[in-house]
């Protein structure tokens, strides 16, 4: 954690199309500024996020991963965000067992109207990952897809 000061983490975020992706778009339309460390992959539902994706992102060099979906009860597909939450909790235990700090992998609920909350979530995630430093537990060679 020596390079804490100038370390800019790289965070991969999985956002559901209906709530969180729309919320992130709203942050844009409202010109809310936030750190550029987060890069987004759009999925239709947070329930699509396979725990494998999270492991994969960490292996590929991401320092942190965010999964964000609709608030409980508001999933466009009724249950997807509950599935995501259940998987996330199991995965977090597993990652902790592997020595991955809990700050690295986060889950949040951001609705289509919460542009301001999106900024807060990003700041929280970025600061959390900055605290624990670069991810090098899973370093490996790149695959050629």
């Amino acid at each position: 954690m020596a390079e804490k000061t100038d370390f800019e983490p790289n965070i991969v975020a999985f956002l559901c199309n209906w709530c969180s992706y729309a919320g992130a778009d709203l942050a844009g339309t409202s010109r809310i500024q936030y750190p550029s460390n987060v890069r987004v992959i759009r999925v239709m539902c947070s329930g699509r996020v396979n725990p494998l994706f999270v492991m994969n992102a960490l292996q590929q060099g991401a320092d942190g991963v965010l999964i964000s979906g609709c608030h409980p009860g508001d999933c466009h597909y009724m249950q997807g965000n509950y599935y995501a939450r259940r998987r996330f909790n199991l995965m977090r235990n597993f990652l902790e067992y592997l020595g991955v700090e809990p700050q690295r992998v986060r889950m949040s609920w951001v609705s289509a109207s919460e542009g301001a909350k999106w900024k807060e979530v990003i700041e929280e995630v970025v600061n959390g990952v900055k605290e624990v430093g670069p991810m090098d537990q899973f370093k490996r060679r790149q695959l050629n897809w």
Binding site: A24, G28, I32, R39, G80
Partner: protein, 678 residues
Amino acid sequence: MNGKPKIGVYVCHCGTNIAGTVNVEEVVQFAQTLPDVVVARNYSYMCSDPGQALITDDIANMGLNRVVVASCSPRMHEPTFRKTLLSGGLNPYFLEMANIREQCSWVHDDPIAATEKAKRVVEAAVVKARRLEALDVKEVDVEPSCLIIGAGIAGIQAALDIADAGFKVYLVEKSPTVGGHMAQLDKTFPTLDCSACILTPKMVDVANHPNIELMTYSQVEEIGGYIGNFDIKVRKRSRFVDMDKCTGCGDCASECRLAGRIPNEFDEGIGMRGAIYLPFPQAVPAKYTIDKENCLFLTKGKCGESPKCKDACKAGAINFDLQDEVVEFKVGTIIVATGYDVFDARLKPEYGYGVYDNVLTALEFERMVNASGPTGGKVVMLERGKKKKKKEGEEAEAPRVPQSVTFIQCVGSRDKSVGNEYCSRVCCMYTAKLAHLVKDKVGHDCEVTVFYMDVRAFGKGFEEFYDRVRREGVKYIRGNPSEIYKKGDKLIVRAEDTLTATPLEHETDMVVLSVGLCPRSDNREIIDLLKLSQSSDLFYLEAHPKLRPVDTASDGVYLAGVCQGPKDIPDAVAQAKGAASAAMIPMASGKVKVEAQTSVVNEQTCRGCGFCVELCPFTAIELVEINRMGWPVRVARVNEALCKGCGACAAACLSGSIQQRSFKDVQLLPQIQALGVK
């Protein structure tokens, strides 16, 4: 076409929206170095005609088979560019978008960081595009009928428009009558039309229209399916009155042992009714209803010797054995028009509502000034909760008439302390209207004062009306009262005149609180049925605040009226007409495209564990038996008409056998790599 990928990358400037922050030239140069990219260009507005022509020309001249557009959000223009591909002769699902506006140039002001991020996002789109596949766009038939939930003015108007166009409408209203809040009003601003005169004919029309099936005192219990083919279940609550036999004569109501003892919801509790009642004389349908929460016979099993209403009804319409009825039907589209609740004035205890008899809400006051309301349209001082101990033969004491009436605006609106930041848009004008009605009904010597923050007279004819009311002698004082208390038989309003910075104590007989419009307290019912989102003010969220104001995120579901946000009657009607025409588009075309990004099973590797079957929220997956190399095995199969493309199954399959089209593991993993690598 599925051969070696040949990708074109198009980076949009969006005027200066993108190019002002992101160095688009640099992004283009970077894109040219990516695998399988044969051309990369930038252009000022990709969504314009010449912008789209760049793509179609390149498809024709360079044989592109994949397209990446780096511009605004796919939620904005994915449909536009899919059409471009189609017109260029390419399957529309060979498109991938990179969002470098909403999620890049607009949120990062540092050009270097923004350009760096844009490159990453473009790279992720390119590596996904390499793996994209052509998808079939299927169409299904649309049921030519519409469900409308809520029969206020918005629901009524939408129902009439759709029914007039020749489609079937199921209009479901929770309360015993149609009309909603507009039926409670006396006059309407700014023209002072009589609300009943313009509304009642429409209420009668919806009841009689051959294409409208009206279900009052009913509730939607289940909604399944999807645009074009929704399956609806409605519970018609029992009124314990046979709708076919009831003539609406009202003989029963006057006989009810509880007559005049139960607060009438329609009169906001300032008028009374019995256990069997008609909410108001012009109610539609004009059929009586027994309220089973209060009826002696239904709660205690006994009403004196025999139920008096039943004895009184010559038509024999009263039947205590009637049960709720559940009906099921199919519709192609749904309009939500469930309206609002007024702000609960008890949440501002400093105004003493619920404590002082003559602190009223504006809706209570509407009932009071209404000629068919509980006081016959007379403005009188209230003695709430006091049992009228009128003895036989004794003349009732004439109620006192207030000498001064004071209005307080913005109660529960523009007020962070109660969590409502928004303006309710109607209170300024209805206050002006009610102030005028006081002058009109009580007389010009009745002193009328309005406390306000700002007067927002923005609509057609509003400013003129506000001027007129002031000329009639209504006094406007700028300042938000801090407290109301009682002194003798007067009410004292403590406030500060913020224009002159003088604190004042204003003495008055009656205070009317101009309560704002709030989301309904039972909103959750509809949200659970339809998965509607709410905006930060908790009204239902439209698909786009400007361009899709009547649509929702769910295809085939539209919004009308105040359920989407505060508005007056003309705006509610305009939106209802908009929702009606939006709902008629799929019904008129008769066909609608269904989700193409559905899941698909690799039957060679599926182990038939059935895990995905359990998981699918839409029961779109079933296990079927197939012949695999001579052996009968069970595998999962997706019903594409039911699959909504959430991908929950794909995330759970242990063998990776079920995959969501356009979001397959092999399409997402390269994206993860592109974004993960430093």
